[in-house]
Symmetry: C2
Subunit: 286 residues, 2 copies
Amino acid sequence: MVFGETGGKCAISRNLPEAAWLRRRVVPREGKGSEAMRPLAAAAVKGTMQSRSEEPAYKQIQNAIRRRIDAGQLKPGNPVPSERELARLHKVSLMTARHALSEMARDGLVERRHGAGTFVAPPRVHFNKLLGYSEQMASLGLTAHSRIITCGVVTREHEIAARLGLAPTSRLGRLERVRLAGDEPVALETCYWSADEFPSLLDAPLDRVSLFGLLERECEVELAYSDEEIDATDADLRIADLLQIPRGSPLLRIRQLIFSTKSRATVYAMGFYRSGRHTLRVRRFR
Amino acid sequence: MVFGETGGKCAISRNLPEAAWLRRRVVPREGKGSEAMRPLAAAAVKGTMQSRSEEPAYKQIQNAIRRRIDAGQLKPGNPVPSERELARLHKVSLMTARHALSEMARDGLVERRHGAGTFVAPPRVHFNKLLGYSEQMASLGLTAHSRIITCGVVTREHEIAARLGLAPTSRLGRLERVRLAGDEPVALETCYWSADEFPSLLDAPLDRVSLFGLLERECEVELAYSDEEIDATDADLRIADLLQIPRGSPLLRIRQLIFSTKSRATVYAMGFYRSGRHTLRVRRFR
DNA sequence: GATTTCTAATGCTATATAGCAATGTGAAAG
DNA sequence: CTTTCACATTGCTATATAGCATTAGAAATC
């Protein structure tokens, strides 16, 4: 035996033959487990490796913690149980408890400070969140209203079809709406999508209903993100008229290509937003 | 490490000939190790836990893989060695090899497919990347030029001081520059920072040097992200004059609060960008 | 009272091992 | 020529254990 060292601490010989899980199957070595965290209770089964369809232990631990956070029992800054404590409470090994915590840390739910402990992270601010107009209004406690300007199928928007990954002469649904805040028009938004793929959109009551909502609920599209180009421009005659502002007024222009989770470009949208009525918030990273 | 990538640079420390520590210590249970991945070779010592100051084994494995990606030996889509193979090559335990891979997966460098393997991820697109003007120009292969308009200390910008987390009457460094593309002015940018914390900034040749660069290299500040507010406005008399555009021309206004890694607000900047000369690209997520 | 030193708790890296679960391949069967 | 099925490979969850590294507070010292 060359490596007397490792042999010396007899790590191997000890822990595997009579193996924890073996022993556990028979005698679960009951602990004085407090119920504070709703221990897994399936521990005995888990010992032999969970029977399929059972949620992994580390996720159950995460859920237990998440529940306590959601319920307000654990507030931002509060410490969550330590690795060793979780292991004891949930009757899992240290590594498993650790797995649970470090994944939550990676997801930003908790923060870990070496030597100090693990703490509930401050609530995250949702930056760069893709929201439809209706949703933005809703998040401000308001109801969105729109006036439909045009609505129909076009076939000559070659460039936009290309951006959507379609043949140049594809049939595109197009919806042009003026967005209202109260009675006042604040934005003009134009959306394009494949008329062949989502024919039903044109029939919906789009002056009241969210396009995003329709796509996600009716068309079973899962939106993922949008790549946007933002610049400033000025109101031409038509837009000035529609938004009831002087011609030449500054406008924020946002052009967005919206992708679904299958990384398919799904909607192309262009919006003109009245100066002073709209601020875009984003976060950029170094 | 909250945002973005774990550093891409290579670590010097590791592979220097397995020499030093190996010789020092007992025989490492020699394997038939192929050299393909430059195995760690420090196994024996690591067995008893590496002596301090040494980079962790799992990071060394990551670096080895990263190097092979950077060197072009591993291209997107190529498989990287499996957990078991890495464990063998680097003479570490399976869990350690796994740790290395799964962290790289979490950082988006590789993708793991259960049962199939681990593969180099397609190169990431850098969206929402915080770049200074100089850096943006550099990324386009151009050199940035500026004309300094004003430069000095102000004490009456209460609101901005507050945003920077300073007392209302703090001394603030202020720098106002016109950004040039060729000879043409395209933007007016104004930056504020704590004059007490970074006094040296005012002395730098800021018409030629990047403010971001100065902060990061000279002041040892690590910038992390910026929260930005974007809207459209029109040129007042002064801006119109400085940018040589008609009064009332539309401008893209970007106000950003730039944070360092210690989550301290470090710089507040406001920029006015000529319409047609500047497009902001961002990605937003659902 | 302020400073330094010790110590317990906690997170981090690592070892070795076991069995389950998904994937792709190649041989056998239809 | 296709389909099926077994198998090797690979990733995933889990066990048990060890020692190092950092932190914060208590105790001892100045």
